[in-house]
């Protein structure tokens, strides 16, 4: 289990992390969302033991991460811009990682070579952005990490490689209960892959939830009532959002599905459809309540 408790971090007089508390369970794929400058990368770097928090605790399996070699040997951090030693080839980088990570598997490295189809004797800096990213994944997965931290990992990858990489990740999670933490701006991608999500805003975690719980708590409803019905259904249902198209209403209602349906039935609707919301829509409505500038998350 990974825990950040009341973490504070200042960089150059600026408070980047502000009382951040967050929990990730073993074997989970955790999606970290937030606007630009919300503190995602700082949080990930603190978790990887690259930065030291000013206040609070950062623990993996109950142990502090910073300067803790035992823990860090099983943690792999992939930054948003993968970096390599200058002039190194993939094979040389592999040797380097082998000397640092005791769980390095040569066999796995060779096997993954078939997936990525890169020439391991070519210098990495000569590769394009996407190919460099592939090399980073190749090396990272060969270290058999038990915690894999990825900062904007799918940037620059083509759809085929994207799927291949995701497939490798879910296999590792299924087979070894690897824990994955992904930061991303692509809500669609996070929605498909993650089981838990956390949203960071101005250095604080404002929402942390199981993705399905999040979805079963808010509903989009299309409904039409008979002409003679008064509008008092609104006070009963307390919709977060109402839109009228002709005689059909589109409502966003929070609460338990069965109860909402039962409530609506009492008004004898002539049309009733209930739709699940996408992660993107959930954000707009949930965050709208909190007066947070959620547009940042959607547009960046």
């Amino acid at each position: 289990m990974i825990q950040l408790v009341h973490v504070h971090k200042k960089i150059d007089k600026e408070q980047i992390l502000n009382d951040l508390t967050l929990t990730v369970h073993k074997g989970s794929i955790y999606g970290l969302l937030g606007s630009n400058g919300a503190g995602k990368t700082t949080m990930l770097k603190t978790l990887a033991g690259i930065l030291k928090q000013d206040k609070g605790t950062v623990t993996i399996k109950g142990e502090n991460v910073y300067e803790n070699n035992d823990i860090k040997q099983s943690v792999f951090f992939m930054p948003d811009y993968p970096t390599f030693m200058p002039q190194y080839t993939t094979r040389q980088m592999a040797k380097f990682f082998q000397s640092i990570y005791p769980n390095w598997s040569e066999e796995r490295f060779m096997m993954l070579g078939n997936v990525f189809e890169l020439d391991m004797d070519k210098k990495i800096h000569t590769y394009s952005k996407g190919l460099q990213r592939q090399a980073a994944f190749w090396l990272a997965l060969s270290t058999n990490p038990s915690v894999f931290i990825l900062d904007e990992p799918f940037d620059g990858l083509d759809p085929v490689i994207r799927t291949k990489v995701k497939n490798l990740l879910v296999q590792e999670v299924a087979e070894r209960e690897m824990t994955v933490i992904i930061s991303s701006h692509n809500l669609r991608e996070v929605e498909d892959l993650c089981d838990h999500i956390g949203i960071i805003h101005k250095g604080t975690c404002i929402l942390e939830k199981d993705i399905d719980d999040l979805k079963s708590d808010i509903h989009k409803i299309q409904v039409a009532f008979p002409k003679d019905i008064q509008e008092d259904w609104k006070t009963q249902l307390k919709p977060v959002y109402v839109e009228q198209r002709g005689s059909v209403y589109m409502l966003i209602v929070k609460g338990e599905k069965q109860k909402i349906l039962a409530d609506i039935q009492t008004f004898q609707p002539i049309l009733l459809d209930i739709l699940p919301l996408t992660l993107e829509e959930i954000f707009i409505y949930e965050m709208g309540d909190l007066n947070y500038a959620i547009q940042n998350i959607l547009l960046s």
Binding site: V170, D192, D212, L275, P276
Partner: protein
């Protein structure tokens, strides 16, 4: 065997449950047949193993499958299924469709005939 629609609004977990229920109810998967392991399914479909596990747990509480520790999950005999939520859902859908059919001028006898036919085909399950 399972085809998921990643573009759909319906959560993957719900899609999985629905697809498996369909396979079991239609008899494509027979009682005591083993379901694919979480591991295999995760690799095949590229979806989060925790999501699959959750779907399996849900199917178990609804009575569609049973699991044996260390062996995996298996299809339950259909008479053991007690899925009140699904029954309600299906009846509601049926009501909608029947209303539409009657509106289009289908005679009630014709609908009853369909019920009789399906019953015969399925051996009165």
């Amino acid at each position: 065997m399972l085809e998921l629609d990643l573009r759909s609004r319906t959560p993957i977990y719900e899609q999985l449950v629905d697809k498996l229920v369909e396979l079991i109810v239609s008899g494509v998967m027979v009682p005591d047949e083993q379901l694919p392991s979480v591991r295999t399914l995760a690799a095949q479909l590229t979806i989060n193993p925790n999501t699959i596990q959750k779907a399996y747990r849900e199917l178990e509480t609804r009575g569609y499958i049973y699991s044996i520790k260390g062996k995996g999950s298996f299809v339950n005999a259909l008479n053991l299924v007690q899925d009140e939520g699904k029954v309600k859902e299906v009846l509601q859908k049926l009501e909608k469709i029947i209303a539409e059919a009657l509106f289009l001028g289908v005679k009630p006898e014709e609908i009853i005939q369909i019920v009789e036919n399906v019953k015969l085909q399925k051996g009165g399950q």
